[in-house]
Amino acid sequence: METTATSHHAPPQGFLRKYVFSLDHKVIGKQYLDLALVAVVIGMVLSWLMRFHLGFPTTAVPGLGKLAPTAAAGGVITPELYLALMTMHGTIMVFFVLTTAPFAGFGNFVLPIQVGAEDMAFPRFNMMSFWVTFVAFLVLVAAFFVPEGPPISGWTAYAPLSAIGKDAGPGLGTGQTLWAVSIALFCVGQLLGALNFIATTLDLRTKGMTLMRMPLSTWAWFITSVIGLIAFSVLLPACILLILDRVAGTSFFIPGGLVVSDRLQPHSGGSPLLWQHLFWFFGHPEVYIAILPGFGIVSHILPVFARKPLLGPKVVLICLIAIAFLSYTVWGHHMFLSGMNPLSATLFSVPTLVITIPATIVVLLWIGTVYGARMRFTTPALFCLGFISVFVSGGISGFFLAQPSIDTYLHGTYFVVGHFHFVMGVAAMFGIFAGVYFWFPKMYGRMMNDKLGKLHFTLTLIGVYCVFMPMHYLGLAGNVRRYSTFTDDYMKGSLPLHRFITIAALFTGAVQLIFFYNLIHSRLRGAKAPDNPWQATSLEWSTSSPPPFDNFGGHHPVVTHGPNEYGVKGPTGDYIMQASSDQPVTS
């Protein structure tokens, strides 16, 4: 019999195997989520520091002077520290929060259960995937502590700034190398994860779980893994070549004749645009890696609380696939002004605009699902609705940036910062929040506090709009991004608005304490969760909360229905579970 793949494994023994080097996808999923939680706290604190400095450029941050005596003498953030904060913030958020939580975290925990499998196809690879990612995170964080300081070349690490080495300025020595190593490791970790997701979805579905009966969340993770597979297998080579340029003296990305810090650099012939092409070939799909799981989560959760089937589930699926496909044809829209052939700008602009068609359709189908529903406004439902709203806001500013003729004005301004924070930052975060509030009972067997959840939601919604909508106004006024201060004459007029954003950001950050409190308190003291608290249909709700180590207690659920059977006459209410004719399992 097959042994490398799924097995009728025995319960894990010993603390290490159970909680640390666990092979159980549920534990690994939680580990990913915990990692994301740590990362998001760090990322958020970094953003507060940045925001504080932008709003109050001459005021000292209490205590910072002691923490970083050189980079922030007297507590006032220096330009290079600002750039370091920004680089680390962007990198941590994009890679270690928005990829780990919605994709690796929830995907790991939920996907195998939703297809009725006992575990992932390759539990050992799965474990490696997490631990490699974890090491990648440590390597990145280590960059804070190296003598030349953390990297300052942004999360996009454009060459040659990122490739030359120390000559290019502070933070571009060891710190930048650690950045590249960290990202390369991260790619390896995610490739192992994607491999598992794909094999599990294709091969380990339980009886009756046809592809068309798969919940859209699982579909989204599956599609995301395919995107990830292609994206990370291009970013990995890019990082390897970057590392070689930095440490081995090659010239992949560094052209000849550069004079940096008064030294003629010993390189020749490399192409900075090559880095940009490789990076964005990964980078644009990466934003879909961050957001597609959110699409899946909303498509999965919204009907549960609307108590009616999702409108046009097949169309949603087709749109997800179309988006995935198109996401590989648009990377050049990040390079309209990079000096590549201007004709290709037009060529990249068209698919970029076309990709808004499937995105618009999905949004309309969600809104159409709310029509005539019997919405139950639980916290996860609210976050789904919030997701729709912020995704619309962010998507619409994409309309501007997709046109080269307007991008000539808006590129490199706060308009872009506002755009991507809405469309991938906040939207993906709302997807994560929806997922946490929704699956928490399944993960920990306890309910989260719904009142606190609603408070968290409402304040967060108001907060993020106050933070990110004004960034569009700044961008329209020509306010450039990646600047640490706007104090001397340039853009001085923008200071009041920056100050408003800062206050809103600190407020929004503080609101997250409600969430953390809820999370920790509910984990320890929350009300006991029933097996199916939301009256949902998919397989994770037909096992116990939390599920036994092999998910269904030795039983293989038999699926007879699609996931979308709401608003019908079922045996236990207005819904029919996917495995409804099967014996329910309790352990």
Partner: protein, 265 residues
Amino acid sequence: MGRLFAVVLAVITIVSAAIFIARIWWLPPDISVLGVGIDHQMTETMIASGVLFVVCQLVLAMFVWQYGDAGDARPIKTFPGGATPMVVIATILVSAEILVLTLVGTKVWGGIFLSPPDPSALHIDVQAEQFAYYFRYPGPDGKFGAIHPELIDDGNGNFFGLDPANDTAARDDIVSASLVIPVNKPILLTLHSKDVGHAFYVPELRIQQDFVPGLVIPLHFTATRLAKEEIVCTQLCGLGHYNMRAYLEVESLGQFQQWLKDHAP
């Protein structure tokens, strides 16, 4: 709770849109020939996407307001016509919008980046470095001296690495830290970088372009009004990025010629 959300969403939408409409923060006045087209395109897009934004948000808010679960036995309703008509209409509308924007936009874009510069354009060579710009005028001979990276020395002011001792074309090159140009005259810049990536951005000219090390990138425009504006770097170039700026000075032809004379080496 649903109704609270609906109200919050509606307020957010209306306030956000109102600020756009009131143009409290808006593009600075444009001073270039091509700016008109870009501004037009911007307004067009703003209207189209503004309508989409407001409609989507308000319809969502309306449905949320309307369709909460009141615990009664009200049956669910499907969206009129189901998914198909909605999908078809959305596809047609968005496609049409895309088509229009692309057709109009390509013309504007082409005017900046696809059309050749006017043959009579004044050619100015621009070098960006950490964290400054230097502008070079060819001088009376109309020719630029060759660049020798190994001769670049900021200490003695040889920013371009010129070799006037051996290179006659280099002798009369005028190097300046601000970009001084005559009004209503087509300008051709050639952008190159000494070290890392930088960018050239003048919001009032509605123009932005990266400097890519190893490449020489042409950029052309015509300023239509006397002005003194800032040129800012929008490509992260290191710790002094936030401070990498220079002035663009648009002068009358007479003033400009005088300026050239005054600055001849």
